[in-house]
């Protein structure tokens, strides 16, 4: 471990031994490489961040900028009839300037280790199923069913298939 050297700025007198918050480093597209942006808790200030980065990560920052992104008022349950509107908590970001540049590693081209294809297909299938199970499902005609009915009718008329009564109802019944 590196030696504990005196900080190049005035350090506060209150010592916090067990901090309980998380810092998230963000990839920013249009910022210079000597800057880094973090997602910080709303109660953190610039002096705290400077202190934290120096003592925990041994990173000297030249300056810190902060800004808060207010959230839009959003319904708690978007797809429900009963909507409670609330404003989620705002997000605080801080940008620091460093002495030496840092560039994020590139995103891997092949996302197969994270099963990207499978996940996308699962999501699409779930959305399709949710549409059939939703309250306004009867406003959307089932195109697949219509096509299959058309084909079945064509086969019956052409004589390829013979009509058989269906047991157990109109949906998914057994054929005798």
């Amino acid at each position: 471990m590196a030696l504990v050297t005196k900080a190049p700025f005035r350090v506060g007198q209150k010592e916090i031994h067990l901090p309980n918050f998380t810092l998230t480093l963000l990839r920013m597209a249009n910022q210079p490489p000597t800057s880094a942006t973090f997602l910080v808790p709303l109660s953190l200030n610039k002096l705290d961040l400077r202190d934290y980065l120096y003592h925990a990560y041994n990173l000297r920052v030249l300056s810190v900028r902060s800004y808060i992104i207010q959230s839009k008022v959003a319904p708690t349950r978007p797809k429900s009839q009963a909507r409670n509107w609330n404003r989620p908590q705002a997000q605080k970001r801080m940008t620091v300037e460093m002495e030496r540049p840092f560039v994020w590693p590139d995103t891997p081209d092949d996302l197969e280790p994270w099963n990207h294809e499978t996940r996308e297909k699962t999501r699409a299938a779930q959305e399709e199923f949710q549409k059939t199970a939703s309250r306004d499902a009867d406003t959307r005609p089932d195109a697949g069913e219509r096509k299959s009915l058309r084909e079945q009718a064509k086969e019956l008329l052409e004589g390829k298939e013979r009509w058989k009564p269906v047991v157990g109802g109109s949906r998914g019944g057994r054929r005798r």
Binding site: P19, L25, P33, A56, L59, F102, P105, P113, W114, N115
Partner: protein
């Protein structure tokens, strides 16, 4: 009254297939089609600031002096490289502090196998043996690991890479449990110290103001020393009936061992 609204009215009427009866003074407008833009202001791209003295202040003495020339001409100024592909590659230091926000292989997000690697939280039983320095160090290891996980989770979701969120949440829960166990241990120690302090306030052998007074913190009295005549308590052999009962209870609750291993009954008799 400009011509445009009238034309749209004519177009609307053609859609409806109805004829519009124009007033007499507007009839020539049908024959004269608009050829140029109504506005005489030039296009935005060709505009420049007509005021060459903008920003020049006599009070603050800004701007150039008379016949003063600059070493650099406007056309010689460096131009920014807008295409990211043509920008020069930046050398990143291997030991840069921000690499601590990434995994060891310096990738933007962990592979799913790494996330689901076995690793259980520390128990309170294990942490009770550790001193403050070790517990403090472990706390910070947990904090930095959570920062690392949060960084890569945000990037993975932003890029919509795929699975990993579930494993990430499980790992965060494990780390939080370790942190909770650390605080539990410290709280236990504090309560032990607090109780001892309360007892010590009423104990004549202990002087809580020793540092201020300059005296001894603990002065044992003669009564607390053990008598030389007293013999130490002898450890008696266990009652066989009690041993049998304990073994029977053990057999009832334990899972039976495989046949090739010695059973508890045999071990008890040995």
């Amino acid at each position: 009254m400009s011509i445009q609204p009238l034309r749209s009215a004519l177009q609307a009427s053609s859609f409806n297939n109805a004829s519009v009866i124009l007033p007499a003074f507007l009839v020539p407008s049908v024959f004269h089609v608009q050829s140029s833009s109504f506005s005489t202001t030039s296009h935005l791209e060709g505009r420049r600031d007509a005021n060459r003295n903008r920003g020049v202040s006599a009070l603050r003495r800004t701007g150039l002096r008379k016949r003063q020339t600059l070493s650099v001409k406007v056309e010689d100024l460096p131009k920014p490289v807008l295409d990211p592909a043509q920008r020069s590659k930046i050398e990143v230091d291997e030991n840069h502090a921000l690499w601590q926000f990434f995994s060891r292989d310096k990738q933007p997000f962990y592979a799913v196998e790494q996330l689901s690697a076995p690793g259980r939280p520390w128990t309170v039983e294990e942490l009770r043996r550790k001193d403050w320095e070790d517990l403090h160090r472990l706390w910070w290891v947990c904090v930095k690991e959570r920062n690392r996980l949060a960084t890569e989770a945000y990037e993975r979701e932003r890029v919509n890479a795929g699975y990993g969120e579930y494993e990430y949440l499980k790992r965060v829960v494990a780390i939080k449990r370790t942190q909770r166990a650390i605080k539990h241990t410290l709280t236990e120690r504090w309560y032990g110290w607090e109780e001892a302090r309360k007892v010590a306030q009423n104990d004549p052998e202990v002087n809580l103001n020793a540092i201020a007074d300059g005296g001894a913190a603990y002065t044992p009295s003669r009564k607390s020393k053990r008598n030389k005549d007293e013999k130490p308590e002898a450890v008696t052999a266990p009652d066989p009936a009690l041993v049998e009962a304990a073994v029977a209870e053990d057999l009832r609750t334990h899972v039976p061992l495989p046949p090739d291993q010695p059973s508890i009954e045999n071990r008890a008799r040995a």
